[in-house]
């Protein structure tokens, strides 16, 4: 008879935990104004950017780490982190043939082949390894359509006017503690610019890989869609298994003008630490999009499966009239993982609409909280929000919380909130088993059924990936 429990199934070993042995250039641990200047000079940045960084650093010094989230972790020693690490290769290579084969191999092992013959046929990929972007595929093809897709470091050099125009306008450097830190020390990330009237001809994707121990990753992503433009963008993330915690503090800014749309999807699979909560990534991320134009649209979809700690609230500021914000989220926590995640929908313009669908799955001793704000401003006549927050508990040691905040200054607005909690019961599993469905498949069917509303939102190429990733997390030995 089967002795496996659901708990066994969710404790699947992490499959991306390997370290690539590659010579890395790192700067000394610690953070100071000199370090900020050093990063900027290594990247040969224009003065406006150094000024941006220094202002952010000084703001950060005045700020306190936030403590309002339902998360518990020992204090982070910001002087014990390396703020810049890069694989040793000189310039970014013009051709992939010149990229260190070890790096290509790393990404291939992660399922992201970059080479001309093997790369995904309809997806352009920017591959970021520690602090730098090592390759971006399909750049020429995208350029034909006027689409800019490159690392943010390159964008600083090649399109400084666009960077100066948009950087920090959605998430100001003093927005919060981690955003300020990122603004001071960010190393690389992706830049996407879709010009007026252009529908991006392919999916864009950035893959983030942390490789070095004791290194923080501070990437910065900026996506701008001009009037009538549209793009679908996906980020993926993994890291090796180290028994120390690593800090990841990213900032993502989206700007959408009239009639434009951005669909931003994340499949996050950072190392989560071991079953006792040793090691793993601390993921403190600020993601925000601004619907500046009328009838503009931003859709966030996230599948969060990794990290020891997740602190993340992808948000939409709905300024333009009739603009639309969406947030679809699956967050799976297991063992000692902690997640405090959700969204903010800030309704400013008239007839703005937002939808929130959040699915939290907690197993082991983990804690999974949804925290969301729906704010309706005085000018948001006819604004509408619908929120649905569902939690699934696996085992009896896990916790799920929902913290919805609703603030409305507009009597004409309609705000709906639904929440539910369910548990995978032994009776449900037995029922499926008595129909010939194996224990693992039964759990996986139930979890993927629970997440279906969100998976349906992922770009087709990645929906199957996400399903597989959850199945992987839930797979284990029965017997």
């Amino acid at each position: 008879m089967s002795t496996a429990t659901v708990g066994d199934l969710v404790s699947q070993p992490y499959k991306h935990g390997f370290v690539t042995d590659i010579e890395t250039e790192k700067i000394a641990k610690g953070l100071s104004e000199d370090v900020v200047r050093l990063i900027s000079s290594k990247k040969d940045e224009p003065d406006f950017l150094l000024a941006f960084r220094l202002r952010a650093y000084r703001q950060w010094l005045q700020m306190d780490e936030p403590n309002w989230a339902a998360l518990g972790y020992p204090g982070i020693d910001y002087q014990n982190i390396i703020y810049y690490a890069a694989p040793k290769q000189q310039e970014k290579k013009a051709s992939l043939d010149e990229v260190d084969p070890k790096l290509l191999e790393t990404f291939e092992k992660l399922g992201i082949p970059l080479s001309e013959q093997k790369r995904l046929s309809n997806v352009a990929v920017d591959a970021v390894f520690d602090s730098v972007s090592i390759a971006t595929t399909y750049r020429e093809k995208l350029a034909e359509h006027g689409v800019i897709f490159c690392s943010i470091s390159e964008a600083v050099k090649e399109h400084p006017d666009l960077i100066e125009q948009y950087l920090g306008t959605v998430v100001p450097s003093n927005d919060n503690y981690f955003a300020a830190l990122n603004s001071a020390v960010f190393s690389d990330g992706s830049f996407v610019f879709i010009p007026k009237g252009v529908e991006c001809p392919m999916e864009l994707s950035t893959y983030f890989r942390i490789n070095s121990a004791d290194t923080g990753q501070f990437e910065r992503t900026l996506i701008v869609a001009e009037e009538g433009a549209s793009v679908s963008y996906l980020e993926g993330c993994t890291a090796p298994m180290f028994d120390t915690n690593q800090l990841h503090a990213a900032v993502v800014e989206l700007v959408v003008l009239d009639d434009a749309s951005i669909k931003y999807s994340t499949v996050q699979n950072w190392y989560a630490g071991d079953e006792n909560g040793v090691g793993g990534i601390y993921n403190f991320v600020t993601k925000r999009g601004q619907c500046r134009g009328d009838r503009s649209r931003i859709s966030w979809t996230q599948v969060e499966t990794g990290s020891a700690i997740t602190w993340k609230y992808p948000s939409c500021v709905l300024q333009g009239a009739d603009s639309v914000g969406e947030f679809y989220s699956v967050a799976l926590t297991n063992n000692r993982q902690q997640a405090d995640t959700g969204t903010k929908m800030i309704h400013v313009g008239p007839r703005t609409r937002s939808t929130i669908v959040s699915k939290g799955i907690s197993a082991g001793h983990s804690s999974n909280s949804y925290r969301g704000l729906v704010q309706i401003g005085p000018k948001a006549v006819g604004a509408k929000n619908y929120s649905q927050c569902d939690s699934m508990l696996i085992g009896d040691q896990a916790a799920a919380n929902t913290y919805p905040y609703i603030r409305s200054q507009q009597p004409d607005a309609a705000v709906e909130h639904e929440a539910s909690t369910c548990r995978i019961s032994a009776d449900q599993l037995f029922y499926l088993q008595t129909r010939g469905i194996g224990f693992e498949e039964a759990v996986s069917m139930m979890v993927s059924g629970f997440c279906r509303d969100v998976f349906n939102q992922l770009p087709m190429e990645f929906a199957a990936e996400a399903d597989k990733l959850l199945a992987l997390k839930l797979e284990g030995s029965v017997g």
Binding site: M1, Y431, R435, I437, G438, M446, G449
Partner: protein
Amino acid sequence: MIRPDAPLLLEIRDLHARVEDQPILKGVNLTLRAGEIHAVMGRNGSGKSTLSKVLAGHPAYTVTAGSVTYRGADLLELDPEQRARIGLFLGFQYPVEIPGVSNLEFLRVATNARRAERGEDELDTFAFEDLVRERLKVVQMDPAFLERSVNEGFSGGEKKRNEILQMALLEPLVAILDETDSGLDIDALRIVADGVSQLAGPDNATLLITHYQRLLDLITPDYVHVMAAGRILRTGGKELALELERTGYDWVDQELANLEATGEREPVEVA
């Protein structure tokens, strides 16, 4: 249909089982041959439902003694899913709801698991839709139920029909139906009973667990067993059920008391 030479499908010998520390089954003997319909009757708490769950492999029950042989193999060695794949079916008294899992997809995965065991090809979604639409007729079920989550928001009668639909798709050799008649109005009862009768054939056996004669008015059993205190107290033909209907279960208490008095106590369990 009783044929003494029909193949043995299920042989239960001196089966003892407990849940937690509570012994429930105390020496059940029962033999099912192909073509036979058996009814197990008895009061609440007599062990009827436990018997069905132990046969299906519910993890909460521990077998402490005895054996169950299914077509010559040791059934108790197998996981619940393996038992299902080789042709054992349990129709639940209270089928659970499984939100988010599409009924159609669930039926397809289950059917394919059984087909794989029989060395048949996996059915793709199109081929399966054809099959399921044909089998829906067995229980006169609305195809709209295929699009919903498994049992979610189904009425009691719809849940039971969904059980019989699963039976029609899985084509079990031994079907155990645990109080399939409970909570059904007369029309639903007729449809369910009719479905079960259609599916009963010369190559399979059916074990009906029920309180009431009314199901047996619609499905005529070859054998009726009366269960009490964890064992089968008496076995007879269909007239035994009618007798129970007439006289109630008082004689059972009398018979149990006699057994106690003659010293035939429950065997002592060895830890």
